[in-house]
């Protein structure tokens, strides 16, 4: 390998080390709150279609917030997606479903009545995590809905739900 090649390789190695040093730290913390440890040490799973399609109308909710069965059911009923018709073309829907299912919550997840959760906010783990927060934001018009993650989780768009990045609006 010539000198330029070695130089490039060095640069690349430095970039890789940098990524390795920064990503897992933030990751380890947030996974406590989702209950899933499957993604620790890996980059936050992402997919451009998931970002552009799901993220067009609401925050692109992380796959690890619902189990695979919930995602499958949601993605097969997009013609009535909580009251809206959010149908995607077949290819896009398939790609997003695979992405969501592959990165879904691994632990068993149930809603309050013991059924498969249809919404993230109705999952037991979510309600447990947010029991106190829910009381605090109950009458806060800036919050509106518990599905509005990014109001308090100020880095939710980047997939960061860690405790230190929570700021409840007054």
């Amino acid at each position: 390998m010539n000198i330029a090649g070695k130089y490039l390789l060095g640069l690349f190695a430095a970039a890789v080390l940098f990524l390795g040093a920064t990503l897992p730290v933030a990751q380890a913390e947030e996974d406590e709150y989702s209950g899933s440890r499957a993604t620790i040490g890996a980059a936050r799973p992402s997919n451009p279609k998931w970002v552009s399609e799901c993220g067009a109308c609401h925050l692109a909710f992380p796959a690890r917030f619902l189990p695979a069965e919930s995602w499958r059911e949601m993605m097969s009923g997009l013609d009535n997606h909580f009251g809206s018709n959010a149908v995607l073309d077949e290819e896009t829907a398939r790609e997003i479903t695979v992405f969501l299912v592959d990165n879904a919550r691994r632990k068993k997840s149930r809603d309050a009545s013991g059924n498969m959760p249809k919404r993230i906010t109705e999952s037991r783990w979510f309600m447990r995590e947010h029991a106190r927060a829910e009381l605090r934001v109950k009458n806060n018009p800036k919050v509106k809905s518990m599905a509005n993650c990014a109001v308090c989780h100020i880095k939710a768009e980047q997939g960061d739900y860690s405790e230190r990045n929570i700021k409840i609006p007054k």
């Binding site: 890789v16 390795g20 897992p24 980059a43 067009a56 109308c57 925050l59 809206s84």
Partner: protein, 139 residues
């Protein structure tokens, strides 16, 4: 645990993602012309009207939402999804040059939003009036 291969994959994905940005396929004016061609086939068509488009944009059509419920009364301003509060970039091409430049996206959003606001697809006349109105909006 750190896996160098994951980082390589991530870098690769970023590079590919940047290269895959779709080219601008349309212009708002071009879209208006093709809508005009479509609408001129309907009986009594006498051209688009920005005034009609404005009324259409600001009024409800039998359902809970109007266009302005999410895009606000000023199409050059940033909007907010009526349910999720998600930020929406300005709709008027003068304020957001990316609007109405990609055919696939245009069709998708007309279909989806007309469904949310009118419970049906919009006609070429409605789309043309609406676009004619948006094109009169200055930043």
């Amino acid at each position: 645990m750190f896996r160098p291969l994951h980082a390589v994959g991530l870098l690769f994905a970023v590079i590919v993602g940047m290269a895959a940005q779709p080219a601008l396929a349309e212009s708002p004016e071009g879209l208006l012309e093709s809508l005009r061609a479509e609408a001129s086939g309907t009986a009594g068509f006498q051209g688009f009207s920005a005034a009609r488009g404005e009324t259409f944009y600001k009024n409800k059509h039998g359902d809970d939402w109007s266009c302005s419920s999410c895009h606000t009364l000023n199409p050059a301003a940033e909007g907010k999804h009526a349910k999720s509060d998600k930020l929406i970039k300005p709709l008027a091409p003068s304020a957001n040059p990316e609007r109405f430049t990609e055919t696939k996206k245009i069709e998708k959003w007309f279909k989806r939003n007309c469904n949310d606001v009118l419970d049906r697809e919009c006609t070429a006349l409605e789309k043309g009036d609406f676009l004619a109105y948006l094109l009169t909006i200055k930043k």
